[in-house]
Amino acid sequence: MPEPGTLGALVMKLRFDRGTILLTDPPADLDLAQAPGVLWDHRVHAHRAPASSYPALKSWLLEAGARFEDILLYQTHDAPEAWLRVDLRPYQEAALSAWELGHRRGVVALPTGSGKTRVALAVMEKTRLPALCLVPTRVLLHQWLREISALYRGTVGCYGDGVHQLAPLTVATFESAYRHMGQFGDRFGLLIVDEVHHFGGGVHDEALEMAIASARLGLTATPPRSAAAATRLAELMGPTVFELAVSDLAGGFLASFDAMTLYLDLTPEERSGYTSLSSLFRLAYGDFHRAAPDATWADFAVQAVRTAEGRRALAAWRQARRLVAFTQAKRRALHALLARHPDSRVLIFTADNETAYAIAREHLVMPLTCDIGRRERDDVLQRFRRGDLRALVSARVLNEGLDVPDADVAMVVGGALGEREHVQRVGRLLRPGEGKRAVVYELVTRNTMEVGQAHRRRQGLVARRSAQL
């Protein structure tokens, strides 16, 4: 088989072009229409393939015996001593092996707090490939930068939060990757995606398709449940190669926890307001649901904004949600619970920022929201770790990935995002400790939309598939 390389003037050339591979000057006897991912691009009179097809395309060309000038490939970059040793727990080792056995492609699903990032660090250390790590938020961007720098002595690049700096190991936010992958998608042989469940639904998937990396690792605590999303994610990153749920690790590698639900009532005034709002909503939603029983909430929202009645129904639903977000009973219950756990590290979760600030003012609990700047946020987490602060209240910031030190009590005052959010939140408490038993309180208002929401969100905590450890 001929070696690829520069073999004369009329050799076919492969070039990375803004997230795609452009093939120019192909030999007349090569039918590129058969090559994986390749289409004829009439705009530039050349063949083109998505960058993610590059590994398969290259194999196909080699098998076909084609001579070609390859794209300028990344170099393996580091002396081994740039990495310190990455120690793994047994289940993390098992996850790493499963990924290796899956030809270095696939998703590892582990509960929050079980050290997913550690698996990613081990993969980087083991493969020594130039790696691009994608994370959903700026908070996680800085957390990943810190964690990599703790074990790796070289420069770590950063793309996001106003910084554009590339290095053989780079961390980027999803948003930056979506915008800029066309510029640097050929630089990395390994693509690691934290909270990978955000992909597979079509939104921003291009970020993964515009990278040539053949080695791909997705990390999540909550792999997608719908077959369509799971299939698409498998195309982009590989299948789920390893999966453990909270209950698989609780009591061992994760702390055990008790979940308590406190059912609360509305005051008569609140109940009367809630009843009239929910009947207004149900009237419109009931008609819609009868006409289209299989339609989703998103379908309803699209339909509703088109009519005055629909808009009123949506407005009523939003008001009802605000009404139950922080009721009189929740105020009193929160007061009592904070008094019951004076020496614990407490995380309070709300449905929205407005409630988080209301709790912050009323109970003098430090809020951690998207409005609080990075430096202050880091400082707050440090002080929480030291015990100078004993409670934090947050709507979304604490949900995903952020490494929160040793909390042992969670109070869920409200949630908006269901099962996935709940799993992430409970995970904040599960860092193991000597004799530790965490408590999760859920405040649920009787005979309101919250009852169904609470029921649905608990589904995520049941055991999935235990691995043989």
Partner: protein, 382 residues
């Protein structure tokens, strides 16, 4: 970018027809601007809460929301004054709350006393720096008509963000469109329409070949405010809306807000040359961006035409080949060689080291360093 729920349009056959705001909408837009005025000096969160309520004035709800979004982008805020820097207030109050039991009011008072402020001042300071607490500043002077045009522009850009490709037939200023496309990483094929000086531009992104993507929607939408600077244009965007392929058409006269006038020159080099030549040769007109020249299936855009005022036959095209990448220069010279233009002056940066063989044989060449010598060009045109 307006979200899906705020797109107002109707589908007529294969066309998407945006529901533009017009003169009949000015009364409720005026009322909306007045509502904003009333909130000047008050925290942003109060205005946001007010705008969530059903409106006091009539107005189509979706379009009202569009206008609110446009206003939010124009809105400026200023920080609230606080008796204690808010971050310091938070650090002290929440740490004290972790240390001590007892009523919250007592705790606030004791921290306030150590800072020499009242408990109310301290409570006010706690979150005074958050975005929702910023005080609303007066809007830049804005009429209902301008708000309508800006909202229409936002609507068209949001529709185009769902476009796979865009075709623009443009006369005059098409060079600005091509430059924008290249800058934003779009593929732009340019063709000339037979007989006319029009350019036909087909714009899309490399990845759009494989599937419908919104990756290039923002870049495509950014072309819209540049269009009013063309003498004539016709835009057709191939959009996917609610799973249907629909065409969005724009023409001169559509009520959309124009961009500020695009830069007249690509570089200081060109600007200086135009100024120097006008001073030196008042009997010549310096025409910026003359009509494009067809070369095969594509077009080239010379930088200038030099036209003698009294002798129409004395007309020269002039191209300044400045400091660009070698590929770009080679490509440009190749096009000019194919064009075989009789009256062409090429001004070549000496740093480019262009060999004589690379240059079009019929062209007059003026080499320069740093600044194009207008006198040397004048000698060429006689």
């Amino acid at each position: 970018m307006l979200p899906d729920g705020l797109l107002s349009y109707s589908a007529v056959g294969v066309l998407v027809v945006p529901r533009f705001l017009g003169e009949h909408d000015h009364p409720w837009l005026r009322a909306l601007l007045d509502e904003h005025e009333r909130f000047i000096g008050r925290p942003q969160r109060e205005l946001e809460a007010h705008l969530r309520e059903p409106p006091s004035c009539e107005g189509p709800p979706t379009r009202r929301k569009q206008a609110i979004q446009v206003l939010a982008r124009l809105r400026r805020g200023r920080d609230r004054r606080a008796a204690v820097p808010p971050r310091r207030a938070r650090a002290l109050v929440f740490a004290e709350a972790a240390r001590t039991e007892g009523p919250r009011a007592t705790l606030l008072s004791s921290v306030a006393a150590t800072l020499g402020v009242t408990a109310d001042e301290l409570r006010d300071a706690l979150f005074a720096d958050l975005p929702g607490e910023r005080l609303i500043a007066p809007l830049p002077i804005l009429s209902p008509a301008e708000l309508a045009l800006r909202t229409n522009l936002a609507l068209v850009q949001a529709l185009l963000s769902r476009a796979t490709s865009v075709r623009i037939e443009a006369e005059g200023n098409s060079r600005v469109l091509v430059r924008h496309a290249k800058l934003r990483g779009l593929i732009c094929t340019v063709a000339s329409r037979s007989g006319a000086g029009d350019a036909v531009l087909d714009l899309s992104g490399p990845f759009a070949l494989f599937r419908h993507t919104r990756l290039y929607g923002r870049a495509l939408g950014e072309l819209v405010p540049l269009l009013p600077w063309c003498r004539r244009f016709h835009l057709v965007g191939d959009c996917v809306l609610e799973g249907r392929r629909l065409a969005l058409e724009l023409r001169p006269g559509d009520p959309i807000f124009p961009a500020v006038e695009p830069r007249r020159y690509d570089s200081r080099l060109e600007e200086h040359f135009a100024r120097d030549f006008r001073r030196l040769a008042p009997e010549w007109d310096v025409v910026r961006e003359p009509e494009p020249v067809p070369v095969g299936s594509t077009l080239i855009f010379p930088d200038f035409a030099l036209q003698h005022r009294t002798d129409a036959a004395r007309r020269w095209l002039l191209e300044i080949v400045g400091f660009w990448t070698p590929d770009y220069v080679a490509n440009k010279l190749a096009l000019y060689r194919r064009a075989r233009l009789p009256n062409l002056i090429l001004c070549i940066d000496d740093h480019r080291n262009c060999a004589e063989a690379d240059l079009p044989s019929a062209a007059l060449v003026v080499r320069f360093r740093r600044r194009v010598d207008a006198a040397a060009v004048l000698r060429c045109v006689g």
